[in-house]
Structure formats: structure tokens, C-alpha cells
């Protein structure tokens, strides 16, 4: 089976009395071609799961499986090709002194592609940027355009799984709509699998079919988007989150 399967995952940082258990006993499965959301407050461990999956956190145990591969300390070149990540802040995740052309060219080169020229223009086209953007630097791009470049970079090695870490929370709502539409289209075109982290329930509800709610490093509830829309949470914390996301409610005047 491809897609993602995680079972009994524990992630911790530092040892001894400073030890922090960031993820405790997490389990989730994402079928190939589906889209799965992780929501929770800051510090609940949602991003940590993504980072452990890509291999950015060395201290974890449990079982993780992605694109048909059981993951250990070392991962194969195929894994790094098939699993790609898009980060939250497009201002920080692009090298300020590399042009778009260099960013994409380097990624393609690393993954052993030869026809870099044609692929770069294809990638730019895929994410809705014209050829005129090719030789620009990040400071010459708006936030939305930068996030498009970051997505193009993630698409470069022709991945099957995209890990999306709050891909739109640094963007204005109108730009957010463009990026979310782009991600929806890319998923249908390429049958991609998404694992998306966000604190915005509406965004996750729009993008994902199943949603896991996290609190203090634990997954407290996995629910379908239909249940979420119908406001039928099982766990009290989920109810609390859902209610908060509806906006501010004025307490009956005192």
C-alpha cells in the first residue's frame, strides 16, 4: 500500500528532565490520493508529525510507512523524491539570493533530471506563473507568488505525497483562495496524497476528507469532514475548537 501509515509514533525532544514528549502514541493512515488534515493549537505536535515523517526529527520511535516503504533512520532516494514538503512561510523557505530559476534548477539537478530547461518552464506553468517569473528573486515576488514557487519546487521531483505545513497561514484571504484552488487542481491532475497541517478549521475542512484533532501531542479524535461540517464532534476539545472557529460570540450582556 502506498500513501501514509503511522502507528504508535512517539517523538520527543532532549533527554532527562528536560525531555518533552511532543507526539505521543499517534496513529493515522492516509490512503493514496486522499487528503488528510491535522488540526490543533500551537504546541499540539501537528507539525512535529510532518517533520518526523520527512526525517527532520531524529528522535522518534514507532512505525511509519510512506509510498510503500517502511521508514527507518535512513531513507532511500526514492522516498525523498516521492515525499515533498511545502512550508508555512514562503518568505523564509526560499533562498533570498537564488533566483526562481536557480531554486528549481537545483532541485531538479539533485534528483537527477537532465531536461532541466524544459522542466522549469513546465513547472512554472503548472503553478500558474508565467515565464517572466523565471529569473526573478524572492524579494521581487509577492507572498502568493513565493508560495507558488515553493509549490513548484515541491512538485519538481514528481512526488506522490505532499506534506503541507500551514501553506496559507502567512497569506491574505484572497491569495489564500488562489493557493488552495491551485492545490486542489494539482491533486486532481496528479492524484497526489496530501497531509495538511493547519490551525484554521475552515481551510482544513475545505481541503481534506478526514481530519485528526490533536491536543498536547495526542490525537484525540479522527473525524470525517462531513461530521465536522455537521458539527458532530465526539471529543469535548474538538467541540471547543469548532466553536471557537465560528468567530467571537458576545456573552449575554452583563
Amino acid at each position: 500500500m502506498s500513501g501514509i501509515a503511522i502507528d504508535n509514533l512517539n517523538v520527543w525532544f532532549s533527554e532527562g528532565r528536560d525531555r518533552v514528549d511532543a507526539v505521543k502514541n499517534a496513529a493515522l493512515t492516509v490512503r493514496q490520493g486522499s487528503s488528510f488534515g491535522l488540526v490543533g493549537e500551537s504546541g499540539s505536535g501537528k507539525s512535529t508529525i510532518l517533520r518526523a515523517l520527512t526525517g527532520l526529527v531524529p528522535t522518534w520511535d514507532g512505525h511509519m510507512e510512506a509510498v510503500g516503504e517502511t521508514l527507518g533512520k535512513k531513507r532511500s532516494a526514492r522516498f525523498y523524491k516521492k515525499v515533498q514538503m511545502v512550508f508555512q512561510d514562503p518568505y523564509a523557505s526560499l533562498h533570498p539570493r537564488h533566483s526562481v530559476d536557480q531554486v528549481l534548477g537545483e532541485t531538479l539537478g539533485l534528483h537527477g533530471y537532465r531536461d532541466i530547461e524544459t522542466r522549469i518552464s513546465e513547472l512554472l506553468d503548472n503553478v500558474g506563473l508565467g515565464p517572466s517569473f523565471r529569473f526573478r528573486y524572492p524579494h521581487q515576488l509577492s507572498g502568493g507568488q513565493r508560495q507558488r514557487v515553493a509549490i513548484a519546487r515541491a512538485l519538481a521531483p514528481e512526488p506522490e505525497i505532499l506534506l503541507l505545513d500551514e501553506p496559507t497561514s502567512a497569506l491574505d484571504v484572497s491569495v489564500q483562495a488562489e493557493i488552495l484552488n491551485l492545490l486542489t487542481d494539482l491533486r486532481t491532475e496528479r492524484n497526489l496524497t496530501y497531509l495538511m497541517v493547519s490551525h484554521n478549521l475552515a481551510v482544513v475542512g475545505h481541503m481534506c476528507e478526514r481530519i485528526a484533532v490533536m491536543q498536547n501531542g495526542e490525537i484525540v479524535e479522527v473525524m470525517t469532514v462531513q461530521d465536522m461540517r455537521a458539527m458532530k464532534p465526539k471529543h469535548t476539545y474538538t467541540r471547543h475548537l469548532l466553536e471557537s472557529s465560528l468567530g467571537y460570540k458576545r456573552a449575554v450582556s452583563v
Binding site: 500551537s42 507572498g143 484571504v173 472557529s245
Partner: protein, 288 residues
Amino acid sequence: MNILDVENLWVKFPTRSGMFDAVRGISFSLGKERLGIVGESGSGKSMTGRAILRLIRKPGIVTADHIRLEGNDIMAMSERQMRDVRGQRISMVMQDPKFSLNPVMTVGDQIMEAYALHANASKAETKRKAMEMLEAVSIRDPERVFRAYPHEMSGGMGQRIMIAMMLIPGPEILIADEPTSALDVSVQTQVLGIIDRLVQERGMGLIFISHDLSLVTSFCDRVLIMYAGRIVEICQADKLHEAQHPYTRGLLNSLPRLDEPSKRLEVLKRDPAWREADSVSGSVSARA
């Protein structure tokens, strides 16, 4: 009566390629109400808040026909007079408490300083006031927080401390510039609840600056929608869904919604005419 009257406010920055107008001739007034200012990044909403306190640094230029605070023109005040306005009559809560609190001073000292600067009170009286204020912003353990340093506080606590500090001199107007954007949703509602309660209890005017349309709708009485430095529309917050301007409509429609699923989100198509259109006046003529 209006507490604040802003008429024809401009904020300009000279750049190499000519003058850049961040705010282009806006007018509005504020009574004892919650006024929201919404817009995207670069729409000039934060600049408006800063201009009212004359916090725009050189080479930035602020001009206005008048910014009247209960009849006195802020634009005509000297720097010395401004010092009595800032904090004491108009105060401001910024987005991220991490950057607004002094990291090397205890929370208690900072709050006491904010009070002592404007009030002529004894040390014991100041401390009592500060503790009262910490309780007013729903801090459960004021004794401990009083002695703590900002880095020992979470984001939500930090923001409450900021609010306590800003409200302790008893200002008439509170400007809150994205006060909850750095906070988690559940903490966000708590902090908003505190702001709401205090503003009502004290009969203050609130200017709430935010990019979050749905939040502003649920929190404010009246909303100004800014685009490219101008006010394009003014709505009663509860009637925002009846908004007419295509920009406001576009912003509303581009939000994903839990209760109304859609395959694709509507993308805002910007019309160059919006930029050129005259600013709508947000002034309300003096009410009884």
C-alpha cells in the same frame, strides 16, 4: 458625541520612484463603539492606526485636515503634548506581545511604570492598581505573574498583560492592531472577550484593526473596509453579508466556510477602478 474625528488623512513615504501613498485621504469618526478596520496587507490599515498616535517615523509624512480628539487637534500638538496623549488618552495594543514587552523588566514593573507615568500616586497605590488590572484581564495568579518576566509567559498571557498595561492609565480610545493574530483560536476568543468587556465597562472607543473579516464581523459594531489606502465601504458589522462593494464581496466569498462546502473558492478579481474611486467617508455627524 464623537471621541475622535479624522478628516482627510494621508500617509506618504518618499521612495526612489516618487511618493508612495500608503493612506490616501480617509475620513472617519469614532464614538463609544467598536470600529473595525479591515483590509489586506498593504491596504494602509495599520498606518491609519499609527498615524492617529503620530507614530509614523521620518521620512514618512502624515497630513490631515484634522485629527480631533474630543475637539483638540492632534495634528497641531507639540511632541511634549503628544506624550500626554499617548497611553493616557489613546493607547495601542500591537500584534505580537513578544516584541512589545520589555524582556528585561518584570511584568509588574512594566505595568506599574505605565500607571506611574501618568498618575501621581504612591508606590503602594500603584502596585494595588496593577494587581487589580491583572485580575481584570482574567489572570488567575496575579501574584506570580507580577513577579515574572515576559519570556515566562505564553502568547495569550503576554497579550493580556499588554492589554492590562494599555488600559491602566484609563484611556478614552484603545487601538488594537491585530491583537489576536499571533494567538490560537481558543485563546483568541478569551482575549477578545476581555477587550470587549473592558471597553464596554469603561465606555471607551475601540479601533480594531484586522485582516480577518469574519472575526471583525462578529466582534465590532461598524466596519471600514480599506483597499489601497482608501475606504471603499462602510458597513454595520451585522449587515456585512449585505455589502455592496465588489471588493468586500470578493473578500467574503474567498473565505472557505465550514457550513457551506464548495468545490472551488472564488478568486478575487481586482478592478483597477477600485484604486481610483474616491474614499467613502466613515464620519458619523455628532450624535446626541
